[in-house]
Symmetry: C2
Subunit: 193 residues, 2 copies
DNA sequence: ATTTGCATCTTGACACTGTAAAGATTATGC
DNA sequence: GCATAATCTTTACAGTGTCAAGATGCAAAT
């Protein structure tokens, strides 16, 4: 009868509608039923594509993380051409892009990091292949930096160094994004060692 | 009729039952009705003491934060008597206590910091009196340290220094507590400057 | 001592949530 | 063209937070 019984691309539409809702009303206000309604579909339709509410949330996070990673990669590439300053400049560029991304989409910050899952990715043991992509990128650039500066750090020391950089930048992005805090921090004051 | 119509100290009982539930089943599983049931009280009884579910949650967090702060203060005092090493030792002792506290109560970590509200307290402008108490403590000790070492930092630089210390230790506590990550990091490798 | 007022607690109701089961509708492979 | 699978709707159920109206007990005022 109706020629719109099948949505066509409901899965993607649900992900996008979910992200939109989070940006407009916050994560608290997100319900499966609202997402379904936003796609003009019955409240149980999402279950054809996602086992859970959590599975939809995960897909949404995946999508936002892709955007995030793309910005970081782009920053690294941009710092490559400019001067021949090397890895240190790349790290600084990443930091700038990191903060910039969440300044432009403050709700993404709490969405991605709200449950503090990020730190679970902050480990270097056994060369995880399934690292959190943005962190993996930093890891690569950081190793480059170590090689350039001729420093030889133990794995444990590398871990500490990475955590220092990451958590500092992360903390400042949080500062800048949340609770309406305007910070005048010149974050590049943070030295790499 | 019944001699237990009035509970006696329901408010405190609700807070404690709530914390117990979070420790046993996680924050997701906490509902007002469960907390009420745990106190053998009807499902709407909490509304005599808390306007909201959120207000109960806030009271619970307050309670846990008090325990947390007490441990930190205790560590600072302990480091005072030992050697005459001064503020640097105090900072290190605080870091140790920080990690120790959450290692012993892993669920408190996500409970307190789950929503990332902590960073909202990480600002030094205009000498906030209503600082997050543990952070306020670090602030005090840090200033002591600066005075001792004869360094003169601008407010912005102080802010950066504090964030470096706090977020690094925080990140490592997260590493140690969550996702079953056992870390062998010797966190004292983190230098204060 | 009785009454009055107030804090506390119960009962019942409402809208909303996630999720499951059963059936309708459309697309797809043979 | 038909069977099968994928997609979507309808209906239902147990939980949830919250509110309103009433029951209960305590404490102060008369």
């Amino acid at each position: 009868m109706s020629d719109t019984y099948h949505h066509g691309n409901l899965r993607q539409a649900l992900i996008e509608a979910g992200i939109r809702i989070i940006n407009e009303q916050g994560e608290e206000a997100l319900s499966l039923r609202k997402v379904a309604a936003a796609c003009e579909v019955s409240h149980a339709a999402p279950y054809a594509h996602f086992k859970d509410k959590e599975e939809l949330l995960a897909a949404m996070k995946s999508s936002v993380t892709e955007q995030f990673t793309a910005k970081l990669e782009q920053a690294v590439e941009g710092a490559d051409g400019a001067s021949a300053a090397g890895a240190e400049q790349k790290i600084l560029a990443m930091g700038r892009a990191y903060i910039s991304f969440f300044s432009h989409n403050p709700d993404y910050f709490t969405f991605l990091f709200g449950k503090q899952k990020l730190v679970a990715h902050l480990r270097m043991d056994e060369d995880h292949e399934e690292d959190y992509p943005p962190f993996k990128l930093l890891k690569t650039v950081f190793r480059q930096y170590l090689k350039e500066s001729g420093r030889a750090l133990s794995p444990a020391e590398q871990e500490v160094g990475l955590i220092k950089i990451w958590s500092s930048v992360h903390g400042m992005a949080a500062l800048a994004c949340m609770a309406g805090v305007e910070t005048t921090i010149d974050w590049e004051q943070i030295k790499l060692q």
